[in-house]
């Protein structure tokens, strides 16, 4: 187990810089998830930590040791790949044992260690099978077993669940989380799926275009997004974004003037974000009104797409009594639950 520190980490391919000065401190035993759209640099960062990519500038520290120039093996990390990277011609036992090949352990101890890991992952009865005889979830477990067997100080996961179907993904998500709670090793996990990030992470690192957008606990990034990108990336369905203007002690948006107390200069352009869960179809008076254009029933609730003066927003209604398509509805929202962003997209505290 160890801490992991990234200091001014930069990656460039030729003259193209793809990672711009990444700084991050990961505590011992922390589960950190890197999330962002494809091409944001999250996998590159992970591969640099693993030692599979050269560091252009900056430092990577595992524990107190700068590991920039160490071979992957010497960093004492283990990695789980998206395509599992388990060898099809070797049995599960040999695949898990592959990580111990260079270890100086006695043969009997190695066998014991493999058995232990297999037991933790409930794979004991499959030890002598070949990967082709296993299901997707089991193969994933072999890949995790192979990483665990060496007892590394940091686990790296590179989108390990994206090849699994939705149900299995949910299950493996839970298993990895339980595993972390049990072994307590520091984990860095890369995904493009914000639900994975929210459900598993102690802290989430949201990245875009090689920059960190926000670092925070799942609750922080959800309730206090640092900018419009984070606000829209985290949470599904995405947050509604409305152009607004602060004028004469009121917030003018979508043809409405909402009185509010804000310490902003008069006549300021703003963006107001409202999560669909905070914008409810209400029988009484509301903030906005418009006609229902699309309904998406989800069971417990129904997502209602409402056209408010030429702008479509997503609101929520009860799953039992949804409005009719084309009906005129009013939408209630609490000003406290609105997120305000300045013209550059940064959150206004």
């Amino acid at each position: 187990m160890a801490t992991l520190t990234l200091r001014n980490l930069v990656k460039a391919y030729g003259k193209t810089e793809v990672l711009h000065s990444i700084n991050l401190d990961i505590a011992n035993g922390e589960f950190v998830v890197f999330v962002g759209p494809s091409g944001c640099g999250k996998s590159t960062t992970l591969r640099m930590i693993a030692g599979l990519e050269e560091v252009t500038s900056g430092e990577i520290l595992i524990g107190d040791r700068v590991v920039n120039h160490l071979e992957p093996k010497a960093r004492n990390i283990a990695m789980v790949f998206q395509n599992y990277a388990i060898y099809p011609h070797l049995s599960v036992r040999k695949n898990i044992g592959f990580g111990l090949r260079t270890s100086k352990m006695a043969k009997a101890d190695k066998e014991k260690r493999i058995e232990e890991v297999a037991a933790i992952l409930s794979m004991t009865e499959y030890l002598d099978r070949k990967p082709a005889q296993l299901s997707g979830g089991q193969r994933q477990r072999v890949a995790i077993g192979r990483a665990m067997v060496r007892d590394p100080s940091v686990f790296l996961f590179d989108e390990p669940l994206s090849n699994l179907d939705a149900q299995l993904r949910t299950q493996m998500r839970l298993e990895i989380k339980k595993l972390h709670q049990r072994v307590g090793t520091t984990i860095v996990f890369v995904t493009h799926d914000q639900v994975e990030a929210m459900t598993m992470a102690d802290r989430i690192v949201i990245m875009k275009d090689g920059h960190i957008q926000q670092i925070g606990t799942p609750a922080e990034v959800f309730h206090k997004p640092a900018n419009t990108f984070v606000a829209q990336f985290i949470g599904a369905p995405s947050m509604n974004m409305l152009d607004a203007r602060w004028q004469g002690g009121a917030l003018h948006l979508a043809g409405q003037a909402l009185p509010a107390k804000l310490s902003l200069p008069d006549d300021t352009a703003l963006t107001v974000g409202i999560r669909p869960d905070d914008l409810l179809v209400s029988p009484g008076p509301g903030v906005f009104s418009g006609t229902v254009s699309v309904l998406e029933p989800l069971g417990t609730q129904t997502l209602v797409y409402v056209d408010i003066g030429g702008r479509e927003v997503i609101a929520q209604a009860s799953g039992r009594t949804p409005p009719q398509l084309g009906a005129h509805v009013t939408l209630a929202a609490d000003l406290d639950n609105m997120h305000l962003f300045d013209s550059t997209g940064k959150a206004i505290a």
């Binding site: 030692g51 395509n83 592959f98 192979r146």
Partner: protein
């Protein structure tokens, strides 16, 4: 037409499939199977290509069995196989393995290695023949003598001639084998190597335990393919020993050349057919044994 429209969809498909297959089947029967069967029949007959055929029973096979030249030729053919296949495979694998990791001039190098495969065997054989000549003509002997070594009799020594002919044959096939090996290497996911690097195993272990086992289908294909090629070697030998085909003293003569001479110099077609049947059997047995030995267990 009415009959056709009454058929079920399954039947209609069958009719169409056989309709399309009819032409190639006919072609194969006339061009391949019929001559093969006829050659087998001919091996039990005597025929001088023009006159009538007469029954010979097993005479051709008995004659073959007692022919010292045949056994010499049989041994030569297997020498081509036993030396050619492993040497060409090892060389082409080593080149492909390193070429796969080279970015510098990758395309050019690959083209250069593939070039001999495009060249006709005749042209190549004659160029190599020139290489092998004694001083002052031959390239190799000129180099040797300028370095102060004694000359080597390449093509007119009974011990050196076979390897000397095999060398250009191996070289000519390398391009193809390299391309196939590289395709096989490319098909192995990069993450397998990355995972192994993280586990810290040596390059030798990666090669032995990951690369080679995963290349097995490629290796099986190339072993069988190149074995058939070396068992059927002819044009290299023919063009490099034109003064004394298969010489000196039959030391380079492969089975195909013996068949050629028996058929088209001596016009003993029945005897040639018996040799062909033996070659066919050898090819079949060698291929089947290789497939069985190298098959996935």
């Amino acid at each position: 037409m009415k009959l056709y429209s009454r058929l079920s969809i399954e039947r209609k498909r069958t009719v169409w499939a056989w309709g399309f297959l009819a032409l190639p089947i006919l072609f194969y029967v006339v061009i391949r199977f019929y001559p093969t069967a006829d050659a087998m029949l001919l091996s039990f007959q005597n025929w001088n290509l023009l006159g009538a055929r007469s029954w010979a029973g097993l005479d051709n096979y008995i004659r073959l069995f007692n022919d010292p030249v045949f056994w010499k030729v049989f041994r030569n053919t297997f020498m081509y196989l036993i030396l050619g296949t492993p040497i060409s495979l090892v060389i082409s694998f080593v080149i492909a393995y390193h070429l796969d990791k080279t970015r510098f001039l990758h395309g050019t190098l690959r083209a250069l290695y593939f070039l001999p495969f495009l060249t006709t065997a005749v042209a190549m054989a004659w160029v190599w023949r020139w290489f092998y000549q004694p001083v002052p003509i031959g390239l190799f002997n000129n180099i040797l003598s300028s370095l102060g070594f004694s000359q080597v009799r390449f093509l007119n020594s009974t011990t050196n001639a076979l390897p000397s002919i095999l060398a250009p044959a191996i070289w000519a096939g390398l391009g193809f084998q390299i391309i196939i090996f590289m395709a096989g290497l490319r098909a192995i996911p990069v993450s397998y190597y990355e995972a192994a690097r993280i586990d810290g195993v040596s390059n030798w272990t990666i090669l032995r335990e990951i690369t080679l086992p995963l290349l097995k289908p490629t290796i099986v294909f190339l072993v069988v393919f190149s074995s058939i090629g070396f068992l059927r070697i002819f044009d290299q030998v023919f063009n490099m020993t034109t003064n004394d085909p298969g010489g000196p003293l039959n030391s380079t003569m492969p089975l195909v050349m013996m068949i050629y001479q028996t058929a088209f110099s001596s016009y003993t077609m029945g005897y040639a057919a018996a040799q062909t049947v033996v070659l066919f059997t050898v090819l079949l047995v060698v291929s089947l044994v290789q497939l069985r030995l190298l098959r996935d267990r």
